[in-house]
């Protein structure tokens, strides 16, 4: 009878804990979701650097930050990665991303000799970082402000640190907000929801495919299996004898 009562009590506690958990999430979902957006933004205040690099994509926002920094005398040149030609470019439906970026910079008053296109036919943040690595090896003292959109900056920083190694100390990130998406209410619009969920998916894929993460995950899984096995053997022995 005592055991039965104990089990009932434990079940009640479990149900209560679940209810409290769900209520907390219900009440705090807004701060949690805002925190998720804030966490992705690792941008720093703009400050002088030798070059400002505009990451491909986000053409409606990112180039204008680079122009603003150039005009404020914070950098002497703009870097961008050469981008891969996709089927839409091949069909003649749209120019390549790096070509549009150069066009924007020229239209906003940046001189052609201030624009440096890093070779490499980039198609991802990883290949953008590889393109910059080569440039940084050739310019061993140069500091670089990397401009990207707020939601993209954490993954970018993670990638650049891995690719650049010690040279990553010479780069910092400056972020621009995404048009029509407020980080305080991103889940309320389609573009916000798609952008942030996709970014988290990419982050999981990037971090999950990293060698260090894979090794750490294997170690954790093996440790859990060993502990479970030990517990199983111990309890079986105890029951048997």
């Amino acid at each position: 009878m005592i055991g039965n009562g104990f089990m009932k009590k434990r079940r009640l506690w479990a149900i209560l804990a679940i209810l409290i958990g769900l209520t907390t999430i219900g009440i705090l979902h807004e701060p949690i979701l805002v925190a998720m957006a804030v966490w992705l933004d690792v941008g720093e205040a703009p400050r002088p650097a030798d070059y400002v690099m505009v990451l491909p994509g986000g053409l409606e926002d990112r180039p204008f930050m680079a122009v603003a920094m150039m005009r404020a005398g914070m950098a002497q040149g703009v870097l961008t990665a050469e981008t891969e030609i996709d089927p839409s470019n091949q069909e003649g439906m749209s120019p390549a991303s790096d070509a549009i970026l150069q066009q924007i910079l020229l239209l906003r008053g940046i001189r052609q000799d201030q624009i440096h296109v890093l070779p490499g036919r980039s198609n991802s943040t990883w290949t953008d970082a590889l393109a910059l690595r080569q440039f940084m090896q050739d310019h061993s003292q140069a500091t670089i402000a990397i401009v990207t959109t707020n939601f993209h900056s954490r993954r970018s920083r993670w990638v650049f640190r891995r690719v650049l190694g010690a040279d990553a100390q010479r780069v910092f990130f400056v972020t621009v907000p995404l048009e029509r998406v407020d980080p305080k209410s991103w889940w309320k619009t389609e573009i916000g929801l798609v952008t942030y969920l996709s970014e988290y998916s990419k982050l999981v894929i990037y971090v999950g495919s990293d060698r260090t993460t894979i090794v750490a995950a294997i170690v954790v899984v093996v440790a859990i299996l060993l502990l479970s096995w030990r517990r199983f053997v111990t309890s079986s022995m105890a029951r048997a004898g």
Partner: protein, 260 residues
């Protein structure tokens, strides 16, 4: 030696799990163990269920829910709903050349920053140039009135044309993995009497399709985008797009200040 130890261990384990004599254990502990086992089964079942859902989510077959296969029917006109779908325009040219259609409908996208700045040509103009370059007769191309700020607007522009052309049927081309979402948008925007005159056809990207999307970077990206957008369109429907006043000078000065 080892084998003997294992056999001994297994025998002892089995003797516990198979026989639980009442004279060795009191009824209280047996009942407790039964309950614990029941909870273990429940938790196990829930975990297996979650695992199955996750596996389906990342399995190749999950892309099938994003795709709708078109019914074969005659179409008087064709319409490309994804403006950036280069392959869609190629398909339009093929259909026009094979006389499967005699009218190509274009629509005007909202002129956003890059168009206003003059950095890119409006998409409808690029589409017209592409079609004419590939051999579609200029008088077969018609730009529909109205400006679209979102996909629902695009569907409404087509609805207006359908109202003016009550005997015409139209085939809408879009990215393959977006075909379910476009079908849903047309289901909601087009009234029942006209719906049968609209056929959505997904066009396969040369790099991937619904059976091998995970092998291509763009395929993976498109898959997740399409999945999230379909879910949003299903649960929330259409967004209200806010007006954005924009001038490059004002933007450049505020964007710098806002990050300081």
């Amino acid at each position: 030696m080892m084998r003997g130890r294992w056999r001994d261990f297994l025998r002892r384990s089995l003797s516990v799990s198979q026989a639980t004599p009442a004279n060795e254990r009191d009824s209280k502990s047996v009942a407790d163990e039964g309950r614990r086992r029941l909870w273990r089964y429940r938790i196990g079942f829930a975990l297996v269920l979650i695992l199955l859902v996750v596996l389906f989510g990342i399995s190749p077959y999950s892309a099938l829910i994003l795709v709708v296969k078109p019914v074969s029917s005659r179409s008087d006109a064709v319409f490309v709903s994804n403006p950036d779908c280069g392959q869609c325009y190629r398909t339009v040219v093929d259909r026009w050349k094979s006389h499967e259609t005699n009218r190509v409908l274009l629509w005007m996208d909202e002129h956003r920053r890059l168009v206003l700045l003059g950095a890119v040509v409006p998409i409808e103009e690029r589409a017209r140039q592409k079609l004419e370059r590939d051999g579609v007769a200029p008088d077969a191309i018609k730009l529909l009135p109205g400006e679209s700020r979102c996909e629902w607007d695009t569907a409404r522009i087509l609805v207006a044309w359908l109202k003016e052309n009550r005997d015409k049927r139209v085939r809408v081309f879009c990215n393959l993995l977006d075909s379910r979402r476009w079908t849903m948008i047309f289901d909601r925007v087009v009234d029942d009497s006209s719906r049968s005159r609209v056929t959505v056809e997904g066009v396969t990207d040369p790099r991937y399709d619904e059976t091998n999307w995970w092998r291509d970077r763009t395929g993976i990206k498109t898959y997740f985008f399409s999945l999230f957008r379909l879910s949003y369109a299903y649960w929330r429907g259409e967004d209200q797009m806010p007006d954005v006043d924009w001038s490059p000078d004002a933007f450049e000065s505020t964007v710098l200040e806002s990050r300081r």
